[in-house]
Homo-oligomer: 227 residues x 2
DNA sequence: GAGCGGCGCGGTACCAAGTACCGTTAGGAC
DNA sequence: GTCCTAACGGTACTTGGTACCGCGCCGCTC
């Protein structure tokens, strides 16, 4: 208990987020000033800007740390496991949003209504996309056309993420992690096809439905012998 | 000739753009105030905000009109010519940038340095992407998985555009229109393949380098047993 | 207990973007 | 000339964001 009357042991940062979300819902984003948020949280305006760089930042997750986590996950991968690393990394982001639960959904409602917040969210996503683009480009190597393929694939990766995330936010996805895996499998299958020079001698096999493993193995043998 | 000394018959909007670009180069974006820009253009600050919604807007193209042009181009298409319309529409955007010539390159240099301007550019691109997503989704119809495919394809379309545009901005593209056509052909070929539903129990295996077929077969067995 | 140093906080003052409003002036129609 | 419109400039205001200073609390040491 403090002498200013605020009884809660809730940290200042959390109180600010709650205050901001409540006020944005009540009056709208533009109609809410930084003073309003600070007042409701029971702190001074200075304190708000000490904890968050801007009024928008209050309701957004800590993208800096998440980007770092993604970068680190990508870094711990060899050429063999590159696509696994990408899938893991993008799942990292999705799970972080899901952990937020209701807060993520309230933010989604806001970003749907307020252009400034939507732009902000998009800019954040672009940072992830850039990370994936650089990683995939390095993985693909300097082959002709690889730069474009890397850019397309990175865009597809974050789009797959966004697609599943939005479905979860709208409560249309019962098992978002599984949906993300499926979406990522589709992305991977899109960009790793045997037709073109698919980079440096990669072998891609796509099989419809689950078949007898021995049949699969035989198919693989044939495919490899053709290559 | 006017009595305030400004001799030029150059329109106010153009003078403002030139003034802004010059000042951003000289002092940097943040170090340049709206007053500075207006002063150099020989107008009042009020006039600046009459012509442009914000300080950033001064150096960006009129995306509102371009978005409208893209929407109109997309609207005049049947199901048969949908992909042609998409290619035409995205070429429309590329050509508009190219028309700007040096101005587009100066803006590119700025967006590379200034985060606020980069975010702004990204937000603009997102609007085109949304347009393409909605158009492609409608074209693909309500088939299962179409929403995701539309999202992926829209992302690929704008990524292809951005890739070629950046190459032209860096003077790496001699014939940007041709490069865009090639990139768009690649995008279209990516998303119009006969194999299809990669979601319904398909198994995708990617192996880097050519290895012993028996090793590959063993890997496949393991993968299938996990599934 | 007395001193002390760091840390989180609040207050004030300031800057710059953007808005609202009002008065002025140039230029065309009649 | 007169009236009307449209574009411009100036002033004042709101608000996000920064810089700076001073205060109180806490734990530490002596």
């Amino acid at each position: 208990m403090r002498e200013d009357g605020t009884v809660s042991g809730i940290p200042v940062r959390e109180r600010l987020v709650d205050a901001a979300l409540d006020l944005f819902d009540e009056r709208g984003y533009e109609q809410t000033t930084a003073d309003d948020i600070a007042d409701r949280a029971g702190v001074g305006r200075t304190t708000l800007f000490r904890h968050y760089r801007s009024k928008e930042d209050v309701i957004f997750p800590d993208h800096d740390r998440l980007v770092t986590a993604v970068r680190e996950r990508l870094a711990t991968s060899s050429a063999d496991t590159a696509l696994v690393a990408v899938t893991d990394a993008v799942r990292l982001v999705l799970l972080r949003y899901i952990e937020e639960g209701d807060r993520a959904r309230r933010r989604y409602a806001l970003t749907s209504r307020v252009a400034a917040l939507r732009d902000r969210e998009i800019a954040s996503v672009a940072r992830y996309q850039r990370l994936f683009r650089e990683f995939i480009a390095e993985w693909m190597g300097p082959a002709p056309g690889a730069a474009l393929r890397a850019e397309l694939m990175a865009a597809a990766v974050v789009s797959a993420h966004n697609h599943v995330l939005r479905r979860w936010l709208r409560r249309d996805a019962a098992d978002p992690a599984a949906e993300l895996d499926a979406a990522m499998a589709q992305v991977v299958s899109l960009f790793t096809r045997p037709d073109e020079p698919a980079g440096g001698g990669s072998t891609v096999v796509v099989l419809r439905d689950l078949r007898d493993p021995e049949y699969v193995a035989a198919t693989i043998r044939r495919a490899l012998q053709q290559a």
